[in-house]
């Protein structure tokens, strides 16, 4: 028996999320005496996965499959699960994985659980913890089916290096490629060069406290210094100060970086619901009563227009050390 992970790639390289899946799978495999198998298309650096405990990579070289299609990729994963006799399949919480999740669950006839934040509990029934009510609750969820599909919440397990000797096998999955005609991709727009919000280790986010779009220079500079992605609160996106893709919160993107910095954001419950999976939160706000101070780990009470430029200078000096 084995645990199968679906490996996504960026420009042919194994995505960070896949390394987290591998870390999770390895930890559970060690407890249950199983192998970890990975499947993915492209993957120029498939051997990276060995570092995180993958025993075998099923590498798909089919040119069509290098482009994402939810139905084709779900078939590819289902076929890999069959080949590797996997009962447990793991996917990430990327937009692509979220899209193919239910399709794959149906193909596998698996019980499917999203936003998983823990390894399965060690008892006779299969139970995992997952986030519900937009991070305001945790549900211990039992999966009743023989096959199980888990969508792991971003940054909930972390990357754990645990190198094993692995092998790479080329794999030709049984996929009906006609779906690429049914869903014809006619245009892709992707921000290049910038750190993507969903992958970023640090996110610098700002709200209405910034007064206007012309003041975002310092937010971008702070992000630059930290190698962070930028985000914003909902009203900021609604006002057109920032692009909609940056809107985080319950109705925007869910982010869970190692550090979330909130500048001039009050910390409304709907905002927190999308960011409180972050490992650490730093809030900069001139109102000591702002609700965000109740949710954050670190805080500075002060005017952003004074604190942020100073912080940038200090960070630059720190980085040079």
């Amino acid at each position: 028996m084995s645990i199968l992970i679906y490996v996504e790639s960026q420009n042919g390289k194994v995505a960070k999320s896949a390394k987290e899946l591998a870390s999770y799978a390895r930890a559970y495999a060690d407890k249950t005496g199983q192998d970890v198998v990975a499947v993915g298309a492209g993957l120029d650096d498939a051997d990276e996965l060995f570092k995180y405990g993958v025993n075998k990579v099923l590498k798909v070289n089919n040119e069509s499959l290098k482009q994402f299609n939810a139905f084709a990729h779900a078939q590819m994963i289902a076929d890999a699960a069959k080949t590797s006799e996997a009962k447990i399949v793991l996917i990430s919480s990327s937009n692509d994985a979220v899209y193919l999740g239910p399709v794959l669950a149906d193909l596998l006839e698996a019980g499917y659980v999203s936003h998983v934040i823990s390894l399965p509990e060690e008892k006779d029934v299969f139970v995992v913890k997952r986030k519900v009510f937009s991070n305001k609750g945790i549900a211990y969820t039992e999966i009743l089916t023989d096959k199980k599909l888990l969508r792991i919440a971003k940054n909930s397990f972390g990357l754990i290096e645990n190198a094993v000797e692995g092998t790479i096998e080329s794999f030709e999955p049984d996929v009906d490629l006609s779906v690429y005609e049914v869903y014809k991709v006619v245009n892709v727009e992707k921000a290049t060069g910038k750190i993507s919000l969903s992958d970023a280790d640090i996110v610098v986010s700002a709200g209405r406290g910034m007064k206007g779009p012309e003041n975002w220079g310092m937010i971008e500079e702070l992000a630059d210094v930290l190698g962070a992605a930028t985000a914003c609160s909902k009203p900021v996106a609604d006002l057109g100060w920032r692009p909609h893709q940056e809107h985080v919160g319950q109705t925007g993107k869910q982010v869970a970086p190692n550090l979330y910095i909130a500048v001039g954001i009050s910390g409304a419950i709907q905002h927190l619901a999308g960011v409180n999976g972050s490992k650490n939160m730093l809030v900069i706000n001139n109102d000591p009563e702002a609700p965000f101070f109740k949710a954050a780990d670190y805080g500075v009470v002060g005017d952003a227009f004074e604190v942020v430029p100073k912080l940038i200078e200090k960070l630059k000096a720190f980085k040079q050390q």
Binding site: D106, Y112, K129, T141, V185, V186, A191, Q245, D297
Partner: protein, 250 residues
């Protein structure tokens, strides 16, 4: 054109979440239910299509009688009729079977509009499962939809770091979200709509037999945050030290 709108009714986003019965049940006391925020964008899109091209909109909800006030709101915003499948939707697979069964029996919807995720149990799967069970085409995280001549449709979906435009054809199921229509276009019920909604048909049907695939054993609240460390604005070196040595994030 016939549109089916799949409506999930969820606690208002400001709700305090508590659990009862030894933490095995969600505490519904004092909870206000609303249309799932992700679904709202799709509902407005449906109404816009109806106004532009003509369409009949049916709203379908799997839920107990307590969702009826929310269903009425959907009728007030512009749906023409409503169907409620009378059962508590505790498992996504079970819920999807109910919806798929209804769609197969009617088999005449051109466009089925759902949201990408319910903001209660955050499954993000009912609509995708329905697509598989009915054999209908499916696109998720939809941020744009344009109907073209001869049943083709151009759909933009959000991808990590951008968007992708897909050309396909009806019939189709979409999982909508913010972006599908603009925030300021979102419809809210007006007086006339509310009056008209009272006369619109709301059919209640019995669920079909189905198994469940997952079961919640118990709930728990996330561990409370430790208290915040406040740093003086004139002592940012201390902040950098904390981020570097304590949090280890820079």
């Amino acid at each position: 054109m016939k549109i089916l709108f799949l409506m999930s009714s969820v606690p208002d986003t400001t709700s305090k979440i508590n659990f009862t019965d030894n933490d095995t049940k969600f505490d519904e006391s004092g909870i206000q239910y609303v249309i799932n925020p992700h679904d709202e964008f799709g509902l407005t899109k449906a109404v816009q299509i109806k106004e532009k091209n003509g369409a009949e909109i049916t709203v379908l909800n799997v839920g107990t009688a307590k969702t009826e006030s929310v269903i009425r709101k959907v009728l007030a915003i512009g749906a023409d009729k409503a169907v409620r499948i009378d059962v508590d939707p505790t498992d996504s697979y079970f819920t999807a079977v109910q919806i798929a069964d209804y769609i197969k029996k009617h088999n005449d919807f051109d466009l089925i509009i759902a949201g990408k995720e319910s903001l209660d149990y955050n499954g993000g799967m009912v609509h995708g499962l329905v697509a598989r069970m009915t054999g209908l085409k499916f696109i998720n995280a939809v941020i744009g939809l344009e109907l073209k001549a001869d049943n083709t449709v151009e759909v933009a979906r959000e991808i990590d770091g951008g968007k992708e435009v897909i050309q396909t054809s009806l019939p189709l199921i979409i999982g909508g979200q913010k972006g599908l229509v603009k925030e300021e276009e979102l419809r809210i019920p007006n007086m006339r709509g509310i009056m008209m909604a009272r006369k619109k048909p709301l059919e209640v049907i019995a669920p079909v037999e189905a198994s469940i695939r997952t079961k919640i054993e118990k709930f728990e609240k996330p561990a409370p945050k430790g208290s915040i460390k406040l740093v003086d604005k004139d002592n940012l070196d201390e902040l950098i030290d904390l981020l570097h040595n304590e949090a280890k994030v820079i």
